[in-house]
């Protein structure tokens, strides 16, 4: 297993390098620059600002400088937030996205797996139809609909929870955004688990476990569930990276200081360095979580060989 981890980490570096290269040139190919806006700068001031950040040099030279800086762990200054470095932006906001993402992941994982098992055990019965109907609805209804609806119900009408705000991550402020983030994941997870469970229940090892006279709960949890979770684990790698790096809509509706908002705002405002910093974090997370999901899959199913 250590060999696999070493090999994967070794191949991760060139992948990351390619991602950075592609993102760098795509970002620069977009029209406009970080210093153009509704209030335009006089050309001589704009030229001075461009020179300050080295944007007056040939693109390939800028690229070389950027790669060298990144190799030394320096992601540069934010071009939009003049008092902050990219490191500051990531440091100040990644924690919020992490808390939100992990909470949503745990809620979605626990609820989705429970619903998936329940549906599989009652296949083609009302409980199954109900779970699957909820799952389809969960996938189909976008977060920009669920978020305002939940706010309208629980915050504005019933006044049980705050409308928005982070407030240092207190529980009342977390419930609605976590619910909005978790709902589509619950839907997907329950469908994946249901499909996996139906398949594994028909397998020889589950039939053997039942023939041995094991109690139902043990057959389900010990024998049928672990292999049924493999598709879920493969799915959760990239899904996790998505959840942990924040969501524009949820952060905007609930006024949360997460990373997702900055990713989109920075792209629109051509804050090149912040966008690149986020791309690097996102790519590194995807690579790490994919490796983790492969390792978990191997742990769950002895038929998976790590080689």
């Amino acid at each position: 297993m250590l060999g696999l981890i070493a090999r994967r980490l070794f191949t991760a570096l060139p992948t990351l390098f390619l991602v950075i290269t592609a993102a760098f040139f795509m970002m620069r190919a977009a029209p406009g620059n970080p210093f153009q806006g509704e209030r335009q700068l006089p050309p001589e001031i704009e030229a001075r600002v461009m020179a300050k950040y080295g944007f007056d040099r040939p693109l390939i030279v800028q690229y070389g400088t950027y790669i060298a800086d990144v190799a030394h762990g320096d992601l540069g200054p934010s071009l939009k937030y003049k008092d902050k470095s990219v490191g500051d932006v990531l440091k100040e906001n990644f924690g919020v996205s992490l808390v939100l993402g992990l909470s949503a992941l745990i809620v979605a994982g626990v609820t989705g797996i429970a619903l998936g098992i329940a549906a599989a055990l009652r296949q083609n019965r009302p409980a199954d139809y109900l779970v699957m109907a909820v799952a389809v609805a969960g996938v189909c209804v976008p977060t920009f609909v669920t978020a305002p609806l939940l706010v309208l119900l629980f915050a504005s009408t019933l006044q049980w929870l705050p409308n928005a705000g982070w407030n240092n991550g207190t529980l009342p402020n977390l419930i609605l955004p976590v619910a909005v983030l978790a709902l589509p994941q619950i839907a997907i997870i329950s469908r994946l688990v249901r499909a996996g469970m139906i398949e594994s229940q028909r397998s020889n090892f589950v039939r053997t476990a039942r023939a041995k006279g094991l109690p139902d709960w043990r057959v389900v949890l010990r024998h049928a569930l672990p292999p049924a979770l493999i598709p879920l684990v493969s799915y959760l790698g990239p899904a996790c990276a998505g959840l942990l790096t924040g969501s524009l809509i949820v952060e905007r509706v609930f006024a949360l200081p997460g990373l997702g908002k900055f990713f989109v705002i920075s792209a629109l405002q051509r804050d090149y360095t912040v966008v690149m910093g986020m791309v690097i974090v996102y790519a590194a997370l995807i690579l790490a979580l994919n490796l983790l999901s492969d390792l978990i899959a191997a742990a769950l199913d002895p038929r998976v060989r790590l080689s």
Partner: protein, 530 residues
């Protein structure tokens, strides 16, 4: 059930792991103001800020030679009095005994330092050009003269002298503007450009304590501020909230006391439901469409007038936007200081059908009609209000036989097109930097460059503005500027559409909020009703 318990437990664990910091809740026995402030500031460095949101924050902490009263009028700030030379070219300001929040005295030298810092090419401040009427400012800013060549001098610790290139009756508007805030020399020289991170000091009513990007900025009352005894609010929390609907819910629920914006189409409803909360007022801004001077079909003045006449501005402001915006037939909004607004064109009061008929006649006279229709494209920003307005304009122009296509673009791309003149007709808006007609009319001077999108170039207009710059009598200056504007409107290099309106949603428990055209509301005047 077990799952629910597990979920709750997991969330509690995560909440326990959440980042800790100073709480955003108001401490007992303190008076707090929680304000929705649009977006995060790009910086809190007084010489580098350039946006409204930034000035709301930095303007609570910093104070210039003059400042605003509750209604936005100019009153003494760090300067207690001032005088001008008879020719209006030399201004002398006398400073009070004021202190920075760390106890150091605020001196005339801090103002000299702040202005030199703003204009120093190394600072790359974006707003230096506003002060080019100060002697030496342009040469210093362009790196052609040393900082000492700037016409600003500390005659002694309490006396500041500013020398101008031409009389500027709007100087007192600018001495309260962010470009002329002082800089704490003892701090900036010690800590360099990163002084705003951990060593922020201020000379105004508040001190910025914490900035959590995307979350909030916390400022507390400055006990060393010269008028601290009359400052009621102890703590201010500035929240960056770009979603005005979400902010509206939070104000209604009492989670926020004030939000600086209201979504236009919510205003009529809010006026019925919570009338005491809604504050709208004419603002120093105008939206317009610019004609590209290089497009052959738009070179004929009759075509431009026809297009202007055919726009049903009242429909847009009263039916589409419904936020209190008013129809614009001039560039300078009503109520601007040092000015008498120009006469609106007579056709603005005609019935719409009569305007359409006249527009068709003008187009026909210019050679356009059913057999040879005028074909044009409008490039516009793809944000909600411009998209709505441009669709209405498309409909208006189609009704007089013009074939119009729309080219919506993301803001950055639209501005790129405008700068490179890769458009036929462009939508744009302008918010004045200070309360004076010059801040509007300078946009259309031939020397303005890229922001004169239509490349308007009329030597008579330029000359009138130059004459106004050198006129020391305010009434005569206003007349010259009005003549210039009337001339420009007759040339119709662009079409004003509507005047902006400021839209504040404020809990009626907050007192000391005065409506004003600059939409500047200093929190030092506010209090919370017990």
């Amino acid at each position: 059930m077990r799952a629910a318990v597990l979920i709750l437990a997991a969330m509690l664990v995560l909440v326990g792991c959440s980042p800790k910091g100073s709480t955003a809740a108001c401490a007992p026995a303190r008076t707090c103001l929680r304000m929705g402030n649009g977006a995060d500031p790009a910086t809190i460095d007084p010489q580098k800020i350039n946006g409204v949101e930034e000035d709301n924050i930095v303007g609570s902490a910093m104070m210039g030679l003059t400042t605003e009263d509750v209604n936005g009028n100019v009153i003494p700030g760090i300067a207690t009095r001032w005088e001008t030379s008879p020719d209006g070219l030399i201004w002398t300001f006398h400073l009070r005994d004021a202190k920075w929040s760390d106890g150091f005295p605020v001196t005339a030298d801090d103002f000299v330092f702040g202005l030199r810092r703003l204009l120093d090419p190394k600072t790359v401040a974006e707003y230096g050009y506003l002060l080019y009427f100060i002697r030496g400012a342009q040469a210093v800013n362009e790196g052609k003269a040393p900082l000492e060549a700037l016409g600003v001098m500390a005659l002694d610790a309490h006396t500041l002298q500013i020398k101008l290139l031409h009389p500027a009756p709007y100087l007192l508007q600018l001495t309260k503007h962010q470009t002329m805030y002082p800089a704490p020399r003892h701090i900036v020289e010690r800590y360099g450009e990163t002084w705003t991170k951990d060593h922020y000091v201020s000379d105004g009513p508040y001190v910025i304590q914490t900035w959590k990007l995307g979350d909030y900025i916390h400022a507390t009352k400055n006990p060393l501020f010269f008028d601290a005894n009359n400052v009621c609010i102890d703590d201010i929390y500035f929240y960056p909230i770009s979603d005005s609907i979400s902010a509206e819910r939070r104000v209604r629920r009492g989670e926020l006391d004030w939000n600086i914006d209201i979504q236009s189409n919510r205003i009529a409803r809010l006026r019925k439901e919570i009338p005491d909360y809604v504050h709208t007022n004419t603002w120093l801004g105008t939206t317009y469409i610019a004609f590209n001077a290089q497009v052959a079909s738009l070179k004929d003045k009759r075509v431009r007038h026809a297009l202007s006449m055919a726009i049903d501005r009242d429909f847009m402001t009263k039916k589409l936007l419904r936020g209190g915006q008013s129809s614009a037939y001039s560039f300078t909004p009503p109520g601007v200081a040092n000015y008498t607004p120009v006469q609106v064109p007579p056709w603005s009061s005609w019935p719409y059908e009569a305007r359409q008929a006249e527009a068709r006649r003008l187009l026909a006279a210019a050679g356009f009609g059913p057999g040879h229709p005028l074909k044009i494209e409008i490039t516009h920003r793809n944000t909600p209000d411009p998209s709505l307005i441009m669709s209405a304009i498309q409909s208006d122009w189609t009704s007089i036989g013009v074939q119009v296509s729309l080219a919506p673009e993301e803001g950055q791309i639209a501005y790129q097109s405008y700068r490179s003149r890769a458009f036929q007709i462009a939508d744009a808006g302008w918010i004045a930097d200070y309360n004076d007609p010059k801040s509007f009319l300078d946009q259309l001077q031939s020397k303005t460059g890229t922001m004169n999108y239509g490349d308007y170039n009329n030597p008579a207009y330029d000359s009138l503005l130059d004459q106004a710059d050198h006129e020391n009598d305010i009434a005569k200056r206003a007349a010259l500027l009005a003549r210039a504007e009337a001339l420009m409107l007759d040339d119709a290099p662009f079409v004003p559409i509507y005047f902006y309106v400021s839209k504040n949603l404020l809990n009626p428990n907050i007192t000391g909020f005065g409506p004003n055209i600059a939409d500047r509301h200093r929190i030092r005047w506010m209090c919370v009703k017990s």
